[in-house]
């Protein structure tokens, strides 16, 4: 069994003159729930579509569950579930008819899972797709993706535009599947609150490339807010500045540490994951393509 669920190496995708992805290298281990965050147009959807085999990269390579995605790789298709906001439901169908259709076209379909999940969501098998709310349609679409029992789920903003209750129900359904089957999930989201609650791996994208990716816990552990008086503010070696704020009294930096800070002149505070994400997004926005050199240059 491969221990890497999604591996991209120098992945690039060009649409005409525009680079949707540039030099993307990332390795997401199996069993993780990985969040893909970043502004619209950062390349999240393109990365997911390439991983699902729906789009071919212009250069670089991608492997999912140890294989190369693509239309001809049927064995891999059954092991990977992909869902975007198109939500492929047939409006005239009843939920049970959708399920029967899916059962006939998916060799790994598990009808028991499908029934259990919609029952839990309070949706009847007799309900017609047109009669469902937007939230319920999203829930049925996810149920259908989950009932294929994929090893890897690629979800493009699965909870976007849902009301708070519908999104909670949907995310709990997703987490139930993870609890029962140890499914690997890679999902894109704009809701930073979801990252801390359901994700344990984080990939931050900005300007068509990846500016940060690692275990969420490691990311939080290795970043600290450091404050000091400007006259004493000299950062020790091995500390990279992600963001800097200055007041007349204080200089405050969000620092990436490679080892515990021994220097007592700095006041230390633990950043929230939202603060870390925002700092990397600002870093990517202020110096597109130069994020890594900005970090390397700090001392």
């Amino acid at each position: 069994m491969s221990s890497v669920a999604l591996e991209a190496t120098h992945l690039a995708k060009r649409f005409g003159r525009r680079w949707a992805l540039r030099d993307c290298t990332v390795s997401i281990p199996t069993g993780r729930v990985a969040a893909l965050v970043g502004p619209n147009g950062a390349g999240k959807s393109t990365l997911l579509r390439i991983a699902a085999g729906l789009t071919r990269p212009s250069s670089g390579s991608v492997h999912v569950l140890g294989g190369a995605p693509g239309g001809d790789n049927v064995e891999l298709l059954t092991r990977v579930g992909y869902l975007d906001q198109e939500r492929p439901l047939y409006r005239g169908f009843r939920v049970e008819e959708m399920f029967r259709f899916a059962a006939g076209t998916n060799p790994t379909w598990d009808m028991d899972t499908a029934h259990r999940y919609v029952e839990r969501l309070g949706i009847s098998l007799r309900d017609r797709v047109d009669g469902l709310s937007g939230g319920q349609r999203a829930q049925v679409a996810l149920t259908m993706t989950l009932a294929k029992l994929p090893e890897l789920l690629l979800l493009d903003e699965p909870a976007a535009a849902l009301d708070p209750v519908a999104r909670e129900d949907l995310l709990r359904l997703l987490m139930s599947q993870v609890a029962e089957r140890a499914t690997t999930v890679v999902l894109s989201t704009h809701a930073l609150g979801d990252v801390a609650s359901i994700c344990d791996y984080l990939v931050v994208m900005s300007h068509s490339t990846i500016v940060l990716s690692d275990e969420l816990e490691f990311i939080v552990e290795s970043h600290r807010w450091l404050s000091a008086h400007p006259s004493t503010a000299t950062l020790p070696d091995g500390v990279a500045v992600v963001e800097e704020r200055e007041s007349s009294r204080d200089v405050t930096v969000l620092a990436r540490l490679t080892e515990p800070l021994e220097d007592e002149t700095w006041r230390v505070a633990v950043p929230t994951i939202d603060e870390i994400i925002m700092a990397y997004l600002r870093l990517g926005a202020s110096s597109p393509g130069a994020s890594s050199s900005a970090l390397d240059g700090a001392s």
Partner: protein, 136 residues
């Protein structure tokens, strides 16, 4: 109290700087210290927890492992995770009570000195952070 339903309802503050698994560990510790959970009580299964709270199941596993490591819970094969029977639990509850009384007195003094809730939280946070650095 109902005989049915989980022994503890976890909550998760996604905005907190405290790691999610640590939040669960703290809630069990506080429930034990406050006498709401007792030795032998079964903690909800990971599958139960993810239907209660929108949380990553790996986080729940992690929290339960940490509770076992701390000696506060024990996994019983095929049965689940249970709060440990401990002769020190009554001591812990008494100690907890004494500490909260002392803190209550301190907050009264702080209030009289003009500190509001945010000021006190900030001060405590600073002291704890400093301690954390010394300890780790």
């Amino acid at each position: 109290m109902s005989a049915h339903g989980p022994s503890i309802h976890f909550r998760l503050d996604a905005r907190s700087a405290v790691a999610p698994y640590r939040q669960l560990v703290d809630q069990v510790r506080q429930a034990v210290a406050g006498g709401r959970l007792h030795g032998g009580d079964q903690l909800p299964s990971v599958r139960e927890v993810v239907t209660q709270v929108t949380i990553n199941p790996n986080t729940v596993h992690r929290a339960y492992r940490e509770l076992e490591h701390l000696g506060l819970a024990e996994g019983r094969a095929g049965l689940g995770t249970f709060v440990t029977e401990s002769p020190y639990q009554s001591d812990a509850a008494a100690q907890y009570e004494q500490l909260s009384q002392e803190l209550r007195k301190w907050t009264q003094r702080a209030h009289a000195a003009g500190l509001d809730v945010e000021d006190m939280t900030d001060l405590l946070g600073r002291i704890l952070n400093r301690d954390a650095r010394v300890l780790s």
